[in-house]
């Protein structure tokens, strides 16, 4: 896929939207206006943006507990997401799901997920659908380094490999799983090495660099689309914030995070690169920043003004035929 002016601008908009959306969430939680278990993606924006820039409407992604970035990058409506997080009826999931369950299957977004590793077989199934129905689509599973220790990961990679499914497994290696450093629980240096057990090609991308993620995801997705089977793509990235909003981060060396934030911020890196390559100019970036921040403010206002679901909705949507219930 060529990086046209429009695509580069779009990529920046996606990353800025994720960043601003989540900075707003942190602010709202700190103000006591928002509750629930929230895990933010700050620092990892280039991964979702780089991978999803290679996907079309008919492709699927399965996500994680840290799912806002994947949802935004896959085109889920940000106003709906904000309303969902406020528990409103106008939310993506009518207020029933919340942060860990934001989903929009029409947009190819199979859901954030509260169960670590659960999205991996789900994407495998979406890839099976694509293969059987010959849609030409691919399915991407996003998951963390921690999730690569789940049986679901190993079983899914094996299955996708023997069935040559059009799937891409994107492991977002951010160095931490909750409060545990990755190297404490993962004995291989690169999670990409795990693909070898399943005779699956693997790639490693710099997850702080949109362009590197975009290129490597492009290679993996092209292989999947053309019948070449699955790929494990490891994106090396970093979780700027705590595991969840409210995490005091007592377990993590301060200088480690500071170093990543000052030296490797994916948005700053992107801006420097596009300006120096002449892909975008300062006006472009500022225009997007302004649009995004207005969009988020509007989304918050609309969400706060929206109605809560009616208590009777507790028991609707349990079954496909529940509306016919007497």
């Amino acid at each position: 896929m060529q990086l046209t002016y429009e695509r580069v601008l779009g990529a920046y908009r996606t990353m800025r939207m994720i960043r601003s959306f989540e900075e707003k969430l942190v602010e709202l939680v700190n103000l006591g206006k928002m509750s629930g278990f929230l895990h933010v993606y700050l620092g990892e924006e280039a991964v979702a943006a780089g991978v999803c820039a290679q996907l079309g409407e008919h492709d699927y992604v399965a996500s994680t507990h840290r799912g806002h970035g994947h949802a935004i990058a896959k085109g889920v409506d940000v106003r709906g997401m904000m309303a969902e997080l406020f528990g409103r009826r106008t939310g993506t999931c009518k207020g029933k799901g919340g942060s860990m369950h934001i989903a929009d299957i029409d947009k190819g977004m199979l859901g954030a997920n509260g169960i670590v590793g659960a999205g991996i077989p789900l994407a495998t199934g979406a890839a099976l659908t694509a293969k059987l129905k010959k849609t030409g689509g691919v399915a991407v599973a996003f998951f963390g380094d921690g999730a690569s220790n789940q049986g679901a990961f190993h079983e899914s990679l094996n299955l996708a490999s023997i069935w040559k499914l059009p799937a891409v497994y994107v492991v977002e290696n951010n160095g931490w799983g909750e409060f545990t450093p990755t190297d404490y629980v993962v004995p291989v240096k690169d999670i990409a090495e795990r693909a070898r057990s399943y005779a699956m090609p693997a790639l490693i991308a710099d997850g702080m660099d949109f362009f590197d993620v975009f290129a490597k995801a492009g290679e993996a997705i092209a292989r999947a689309r053309s019948g070449g089977g699955p790929t494990l793509l490891e994106c090396k990235t970093y979780r700027f914030a705590g595991h969840y909003v409210g995490d005091a981060l007592a377990y993590r060396p301060k200088d480690e995070a500071e170093k990543w934030m000052t030296e490797r911020d994916p948005l700053r890196g992107f801006a420097e690169r596009v300006l120096s390559d002449g892909l975008l100019n300062q006006d472009d970036l500022q225009r997007v920043d302004g649009e995004v921040s207005r969009h988020i403010e509007d989304a918050v206002k609309a969400a706060e003004a929206a109605p809560f679901p009616d208590a009777s909705e507790v028991t609707t949507d349990v079954y496909a035929d529940s509306h016919r219930r007497g």
Binding site: G95, M100, G117, T180
Partner: protein, 334 residues
């Protein structure tokens, strides 16, 4: 001597006593130490809710085992270790995660002793957080104790306060059968009296926490407080309630249930779980089956509706049992 402690601290105290008293006791789970062995300047997390904080410093990384996010291996290995001489305590962060590691409990731990003709001993404890009330939505809020209570070979207990949590956990750890120890979210950070030192609360015995002669309110875990709140409001209108805390769901203290029913003739069971195939239904069935002649009114169940746990605050409030729902049910009986 006793003092007030949050339930999570009482659990930590029980673990400390059990670990200090028996070298075979080990604690396994995700982030139960949590960085405790990492470079200076970083601190241990002590579990997602802080209940195990400090244990790594006292007992070291051989006995306080941080595991990868691999619940199947965690539970399965704990069963294997229990069968071969260790006395493991597993922290399964949320009971919802049973979904990824059910086999070691369902087909292994629960059945070893029976399948092997009584020749196995499975001293395993699984501590796990249950219940709604923190806007944690469908996959982090379930009360699934009805599943483990229904499997022969497993025991399931659920404390309603900090002092009971400590004593029940010590019993669970010292029990030679696999015990699921539920930690209801709504009581984890509530403080109540906790006796000092080592004591056990027997598994299989309910506790009458309030005396009244007009109606029996039967609760478990967080619903005991709901029953107590309802009882004090009912007292103002002249209805005196017995409140029975089940404490143990399997074995179930049938005698205690029938005793309070015999006293009042009216019984309401309050359960945070969904209504089908659950503890509330079991208690109701018991009353009809073995207590029919004692009944002066139908047995009522106040439970969650038959749906997953919703996220939105207003929906979650509608989902959970409340004192008002209990009072409404009581009014139907008079």
């Amino acid at each position: 001597m006793s003092r007030e402690l949050p339930t999570a601290f009482a659990i930590g105290e029980a673990l400390r006593i059990a670990l200090a008293g028996d070298p075979d006791v080990i604690l396994m789970g995700e982030d139960v130490a949590g960085g405790g062995t990492r470079p200076a300047g970083t601190d241990e997390a002590g579990g997602i809710l802080g209940a195990t904080r400090g244990l790594i410093k006292e007992f070291g990384p051989e006995r306080i085992l941080d595991t990868p996010i691999s619940e199947m291996a965690l539970l399965g290995a704990a069963v294997g270790a229990a069968a071969t001489g260790m006395r493991p305590v597993v922290e399964l962060m949320f009971m919802d995660f049973l979904g990824v590691c059910f086999d070691p409990l369902l087909n292994q731990a629960a059945k070893f002793r029976y399948m092997f003709g009584g020749k196995a001993r499975l001293p395993l404890t699984v501590r796990t957080v249950t219940g709604a009330g923190m806007h944690a939505a469908a996959q982090h809020s379930q009360s699934l104790y009805w599943i483990t209570s229904g499997i022969p070979g497993l025991k399931t207990v659920i404390p309603s306060n900090a002092g009971d949590a400590k004593g029940l956990l010590l019993s669970a750890i010292r029990c030679d059968d696999p015990v699921i120890f539920c930690e209801p979210k709504q009581i984890l950070f509530l403080s109540s009296e906790v006796p000092e030192g080592d004591y056990e609360i027997p598994i299989g015995k309910a506790n009458l926490v309030r005396q009244g002669g007009d109606v029996s309110l039967v609760g478990m875990g967080a619903t005991v407080n709901i029953a107590l709140q309802a009882a004090s409001q009912l007292a103002q209108e002249g209805i005196q309630a017995d409140v029975l805390d089940l404490r143990s769901l399997q074995p179930l203290d049938e005698e205690a249930i029938l005793t309070t029913l015999g006293k009042t003739g009216r019984l309401i069971v309050i359960d945070e779980a969904t209504p089908r195939c659950g503890i509330a239904s079991d208690v109701a069935a018991l009353c009809v089956d073995k207590g029919f002649d004692l009944l002066n009114a139908p047995v009522k169940r106040v439970t969650a509706p038959f749906s997953p746990v919703p996220f939105s605050r207003v929906l979650e409030e509608a989902y959970l049992p409340t004192p008002q729902k209990v009072i409404d049910a009581v009014h139907e009986l008079f």
